[in-house]
């Protein structure tokens, strides 16, 4: 409910800015104009089709990024030599814009779904890996000590103590990565796609359909909320305990 209010306020501000005359409405349409354009695109089916494509790519890429990021972080936390080994690569990967890699990507992966998913994974993986590694090596030492003396091997400690303790922080990473995954799928579609929201964004811009372009952006924005709900839903069983612990302090 509160979420709806927040989004409503946001739309209200948008509407206000659009009517303020700060920028000609032709270039920055009002919410109502955008809604009309969205309705039309919905009816024609092009919006839903593009949305499905983009969501699928982002979701598969995100899941892969999470799986890989967490696994690699666990591997790195267990064998610190590995962490040190690929640390520079991680740093490099984080600053290289995927857009610069699109030509190389097309060359290596072809114009296949692999390309888009590959770019999404590339954009998201370090955002999962870094917080995960940080959380995995910063576990409460007393808990590690307890597990060690209770007979848990380092590997078991990793899975049974470090990982559960790290989930809350890992999920922060996943939240950031979820946004990055959506961005990456749209951006790659803008650069090299023939479908999806990214392509539609480009297409609407190049066919001078400003209202439609904003409608696509609105849909992209709503995906953010959708993905975040997904992340929160997945978070509950793994890191929900932390919220409850935290509510202890909310006694007032």
């Amino acid at each position: 409910m509160k979420k709806v209010v927040g989004v409503g306020l946001f739309l209200l501000v948008w509407e206000g800015v659009a009517h303020s005359g700060l920028v000609p409405q032709q270039y920055f349409p009002s919410v109502t104009q955008v809604a009309l354009a969205a309705r039309e695109m919905l009816l024609s089916g092009e919006l839903l089709q593009a949305e499905g494509k983009t969501l699928m790519r982002a979701l598969i890429g995100l899941l892969l990024a999470i799986g890989l990021g967490v696994s690699l972080a666990m591997l790195a936390a267990r064998y610190l030599l590995l962490a040190r080994m690929w640390a520079p690569l991680v740093e490099i990967m984080r600053s290289v814009p995927p857009a610069a890699l699109v030509p190389l990507g097309i060359f290596a992966l072809g114009l296949t779904p692999k390309l888009f998913i590959g770019i999404v994974v590339f954009a998201g993986i370090t955002m999962v890996y870094l917080p995960a590694l940080n959380a995995l090596i910063n576990t409460e030492p007393v808990q590690i000590n307890a597990a060690r003396t209770l007979g848990y091997s380092r590997l078991e400690t990793l899975f049974l103590v470090r990982l559960p303790a790290a989930w809350p922080e890992i999920f922060t990473g996943i939240r950031v990565a979820a946004g990055a995954a959506l961005i990456a799928s749209i951006a790659s579609e803008m650069l090299a796609g023939k479908d999806g929201l990214g392509f539609l964004l480009f297409d609407t811009a190049f066919s001078l359909r400003t209202n439609a372009m904003f409608a696509v952006m609105l849909v992209a924005a709503l995906n953010g909320i959708l993905f975040n709900e997904l992340v929160l839903w997945a978070r509950r069983p793994l890191a929900g305990w932390q919220d409850a612990l935290n509510h202890l302090g909310d006694a007032r």
Binding site: K3, L104, F107
Partner: protein, 259 residues
């Protein structure tokens, strides 16, 4: 010897690993032998040729990245702590953050241009926009995830909300927020380059764009190498600052960790 300092103390494995990658690259390029995929040696010799120009462009890129990052740090860090502390507020603001997050920088460029013009302002705004999210999200989550005990202490000392946020929430959250900041730093460079590829006439992103337009693939890769090296250096600096600012945290982790 503890895990953290062991993690940081040697550059050898990383260097060897990178060299290994370069080697693999060179071998692969020779195997494939395509003008689309020049080898490491070709790219490195190209780097020697265009290096000075690249460094100049990198300077421009970094300047904008730094401006956007700084802006994000000074606004989003406090805002994140604020939202983290006042859950009710987060309920309203977070959905808006979530909405704004998935908009690709490329897509907000037109909007940014409408409001911030077409100069550096628009680019800095886009960088600011993009790097805000890792900072604010990690701040929100870190503050929320902190054990309520310290907040009890602060409240019993009758600290004001502002003081609690500044003197308790922020330092307590910093070890986790630092990871968000590290992500943001790299992202700032990335976005700076990306926006330049799209709407700039200078900066290393523009250089890459030109190289792509002109099919100077080796030159484009040389630019990527410059970005990579810069990223490594900057990350080194950030880590150094991190270790200074959070000396207590690393010492604590080190001192209480078992053998």
């Amino acid at each position: 010897m503890n895990r953290l300092s062991r993690l940081r103390d040697s550059a050898w494995p990383g260097t060897l690993f990178l060299l290994g990658l370069l080697l693999t690259w060179e071998v692969a390029a020779r195997q494939i032998a395509s003008p689309n995929f020049p080898g490491a040696l070709t790219v490195l010799s190209k780097l020697g040729e265009v290096g000075p120009a690249l460094l100049r462009e990198m300077g421009v890129t970094l300047w904008r990245a730094a401006a956007g990052l700084l802006l994000a740090l000074v606004t989003m860090l406090p805002l994140g702590v604020f939202i983290g502390r006042f859950r009710a507020l987060g309920d309203f603001i977070e959905p808006v953050i979530d909405m704004l997050r998935p908009l690709p920088p490329l897509a907000i460029v037109p909007v940014a241009m409408l409001f911030a013009g077409v100069g550096s302002g628009a680019k800095v705004m886009v960088i600011f926009y993009s790097v805000s999210f890792p900072i604010i999200l990690s701040a929100i989550d870190a503050v929320r995830g902190a054990h309520p005990m310290l907040s009890n202490v602060a409240r019993s000392l009758r600290m004001s909300r502002r003081e609690i946020m500044l003197e308790i929430d922020l330092p307590a959250a910093l070890p986790q927020v630092m990871v968000g900041i590290r992500i943001a730093v790299a992202l700032a460079i990335l976005i700076s380059v990306s926006t330049e590829m799209l709407l700039s006439t200078d900066g290393i992103g523009n250089f890459i764009m030109r190289s792509q337009e002109e099919f100077q693939i080796a030159a484009g890769m040389a630019a990527l190498i410059v970005i990579a090296v810069t990223a490594l250096i900057i990350n080194g600096v950030v880590e150094w600052i991190d270790r200074r600012a959070l000396r207590w945290h690393y010492a604590k982790q080190a001192s209480t960790t078992s053998n």
